[in-house]
């Protein structure tokens, strides 16, 4: 039987930039191939090239590009149009922007029906309703008449899938279908896709997160630098990666590792490979001259394109044993994180957040309670994680802790003195001792400032006088966060995401603070960069003894960093305690749901959850 889709030697270039190079794979009906890679790896371009939408200025070449017997390389635009939507469906990430926000959900779903004349106009409404019901959207009639912004993230993504499968395509390409979603919703969408696959639709799944897609995919293709560096059955790739990059990728996932383990390989700069060499060579510990000049031949459907494959080596995944001891049962009413296990028990808390609440007035005049009676305590040297889905109030807690937002009720104390409810003037002298690292580091840098000025401003605040002294101190701080002094002269806008986060960290450390509040510091980063930053945070904590208030939606990340943890939902802390206890024996249903949804292992579909409020 010929495969549904055959790709052989696909090349996509934008001017001089070769985004995709020599990519080959096949896909059968009812099969799922996951293409995994970090941003810039060429995975999305590959997916879009398959529907003839590689983008403006792109040049697509291929040895073979065949879909169901059609030679795609010879298609002209009208024929492409006949294929798109009808035979091949495309689902992009973030349904809020992938569905036209100015049109109703129904109109969007009906569009492929109209374009391809699948259904007569009179029956389209019915068909749309059926499709919505089919992808698990309750009240389909109502939903069809609504606009995307009126739907929750999960429902939106379902609607987007409904529009992609409306005309009954044989192949569904899903480009990061779950990236923007909370973990629990993420799982549901993956299940929906899995069901479609089982019903016979071929599925090409694009993702940056190997652990998420591996459980769904029959086969996995790992891309790096525009090339497929390893392909193989999902479980095999996950458990016994052969390519060093795949291995590094897996190592970087905190959920797969013991807490506190190093996630990233030491960053030793190596020379870049030549044009035809291995794109990973400059990051690969095993790279030699051969790697830099040429790639080995592809050996088959289950192989790594590598001169030095890690044959048969187990990933150093340590299975987690359940701990049933010492868990703290938490009532909704008074969720306290006890002082503790991480820091010295005797040490007085540096930062005390005591039953704070905060509400915001919405545009319609109604008050939205972002934070309700939240209490946290942070001792010197301790790391406390706050985890919760978007909208759970974590960021507001962070801002209250930083003294940027006054709480409506409750109070905050820092270093034993009142921190909330006092004039800003009074806080000012203590401010250098509690610093912050934001999710969007670029936004936290004055756009006119070079790195030197960004860090220099904080250095000056720490009392360092004289330009030369400040420069030296700034360079020292950069070195501390693993950046060369050459970065000083650059603007943050010219740096990569990881570098920016390092600069933010350097600035936060400049005043030798006792506490650093990190608000989603790694959620915008690729998994391997995320690993480096998490390792760096661990190092800094160890070296300086700084206490961390670490906020993230990612359970695994929080677990990796924190001593203690607080789980937030709808503005409340629903469970808290030492990290091991919460993870091993979650007492609150919500925590359990979070944990199971975030499970990296192929697992049975989770029990249906109650919706958790607006995304």
């Amino acid at each position: 039987m010929t495969p549904l889709l055959t790709v052989d030697g696909l090349d996509v270039s934008f001017g001089a930039l070769r985004a995709v190079r020599d990519v080959s794979f096949t896909l059968d009906a009812g099969e799922c191939l996951a293409v995994v890679g970090e941003s810039g790896s060429g995975k999305s371009v590959t997916a879009r090239a398959l529907v003839g939408l590689a983008g403006d200025g792109s040049r697509v070449r291929a040895g073979t590009l065949e879909f169901d017997g059609h030679d795609l390389t010879r298609l002209r635009e009208p024929q492409w149009r006949g294929l798109r939507g009808r035979r091949v469906g495309l689902v992009l990430q973030d349904a809020l922007s992938s569905l036209d926000p100015l049109r109703t959900v129904g109109a969007e779903i009906a569009e492929p029906l109209r374009v391809h004349g699948v259904e007569p106009r009179s029956r389209r409404a019915d068909r749309v309703r059926d499709l919505l019901a089919d992808v698990g959207v309750p009240q389909p009639q109502l939903r069809a008449a609504q606009y995307p912004h009126q739907l929750s993230g999960g429902l939106r993504q379902r609607a987007l899938i409904a529009s992609a499968i409306a005309a009954g395509p044989d192949l569904l390409i899903a480009d990061e279908p779950t990236t923007a979603l909370d973990v629990s919703v993420q799982a549901q969408i993956l299940d929906l896709l899995d069901r479609l696959r089982r019903e016979g639709t071929a599925l090409l799944l694009i993702s940056h997160d190997l652990s998420v897609v591996a459980r769904l995919a029959d086969r996995v293709a790992v891309m790096y630098g525009g090339r497929i560096v390893e392909t193989g059955p999902g479980r095999r790739v996950l458990e016994r990666p052969r390519h060093p990059y795949t291995r590094a990728l897996l190592d970087a996932v905190p959920a797969l590792h013991a807490k506190g383990a190093r996630l990233s390989a030491p960053t030793v700069p190596r020379p870049h490979a030549g044009r035809d060499g291995c794109p990973y060579a400059h990051r690969c510990a095993a790279a030699d001259e051969a790697c830099r000049t040429a790639l080995p031949a592809v050996t088959g459907p289950d192989a790594a394109v590598c001169h030095h494959p890690l044959d048969g080596e187990e990933s150093d995944r340590t299975p987690q044993k359940p701990h049933a001891t010492a868990r703290v049962a938490v009532r909704d009413r008074e969720p306290h994180v006890e002082a503790g296990t991480g820091g010295s028990p005797a040490a007085p808390p540096l930062l005390e957040v005591d039953a704070v609440s905060k509400g915001f007035r919405g545009p319609d005049g109604a008050v939205h309670h972002a934070v309700r009676e939240v209490s946290l305590r942070l001792a010197a040297g301790e790391a406390v994680g706050v985890v919760g889905e978007s909208g759970s109030g974590k960021t507001t807690v962070a801002r209250i802790a930083l003294g940027l937002v006054p709480p409506d009720a409750g109070q905050v104390r820092f270093e034993g003195r009142p921190w909330s409810g006092v004039p800003e003037r009074q806080r000012r002298t203590a401010r250098p001792r509690i610093q912050a690292v934001q999710q969007d580091p670029l936004g936290s840098f004055d756009p006119r400032y070079s790195v030197e000025r960004v860090v220099g401003e904080a250095v000056a605040r720490a009392g360092v006088r004289g330009r030369a002294e400040r420069l030296a101190r700034a360079a020292e701080l950069l070195d501390r966060v693993g950046l060369p002094a050459a970065v000083l002269g650059r603007r943050p806008g010219e740096l990569s995401g990881g570098q920016r986060q390092r600069v933010a960290l350097a600035r936060a450390l400049a005043t030798s603070p006792g506490v650093v509040v990190c608000d989603e510091p790694v959620s915008a980063l690729d998994v391997s960069v995320q690993a480096q930053i998490l390792d760096l945070l661990a190092d800094i904590r160890r070296d300086t003894g700084v206490a961390l208030l670490f906020i993230s939606h990612d359970l695994a990340v929080v677990r990796h960093v924190s001593d203690r943890i607080a789980v937030m939902k709808d503005g409340r802390v629903v469970e808290s305690g030492p990290v091991r206890e919460v993870f091993d024996a979650p007492s609150h249903a919500y925590t359990r749901a979070l944990l199971s949804a975030a499970s990296p292992l192929p697992a049975p579909p989770p029990a249906p959850l109650h919706r958790t409020g607006p995304a």
Partner: protein, 316 residues
Amino acid sequence: MKATHLLQAVARRVAAAAAVLLGAATVAFAALQLIPGDPVTTMLGPFSSATPEVRDRIRAQYGLGEPVGQQYLHYLGHLLRGDLGQSYQVQRPVGSLIGDQLGPTAQLALAALALALLLALVSAVATAGRRPVLRGAASLLELLTVSSPSYWTGILLLTAFSFHWQLFPVAGAQNGTSLVLPALTLALPMTGVLAQVLREGLETALHEPFAVTARSRGLSSTAVRLRHALRHAALPLVTLTGWLAGSLLGGAVLVETVFGRPGIGALILQATTNKDMPLVIGLVLLSALVFVVLSTLVDLLYLVIDPRLRTDQVTP
């Protein structure tokens, strides 16, 4: 949106409109007080042989002898009754003077607006996201129209099409053909700005994921532009068009001068150069009113175009 909210919104809008109008009236009144020289002299012109008694009578007739505060209150009182007063220069009610000239200017402005939108639409839809050469050429052309003063464009058009080729009548507001050149003159600089905003809007929209999604459903590139992108690009366009439409009144000053057309623009120029303040105030109020009406229209159009503004609730 609930009925009470709607009512509140309407009330807010009306109050804001009233505030702008009151403010405009006050600014105009303040300007009147700042004008140097005796208003009566201004009124009579430099070569009047009016006796001091006559001047006093005129001063009394216009209430110019009263204290400023009292004048202001009187003036507001008259405004509330819809009385804009008498023109100094022409000795006719300001309302009827303006009313007489409104027609030709409204014609000119609407024609220019329609023309500008049409040209911008064609230019932007045809060139958005196309080859850089095409796009660059269109862009340069638009920049050129934006950079050409209307009073010069008008002269060029007049010379070429009326004097030289005699394709269009030279002047007046007699019929449709006489509207072509002035409308084009007024439209051209607008076209440039509109086309640029529209193109940027289209290109932004075309690079949004939903446009890619739409293409992936089998829509042609043109269909995506017209069915999806245009609506998105229309949002900034509506704001800009509203703003530009308000400034058309100003543009009419120069265009009507060049083409010798009657209208509000010509009236504005006359009123300000003659310092015919009651007339100036009337025109200021008219402009403010046009602005208020336009911004209301813009807001309504926004509501029509963008459903996100109609409801802000996620209904789970």
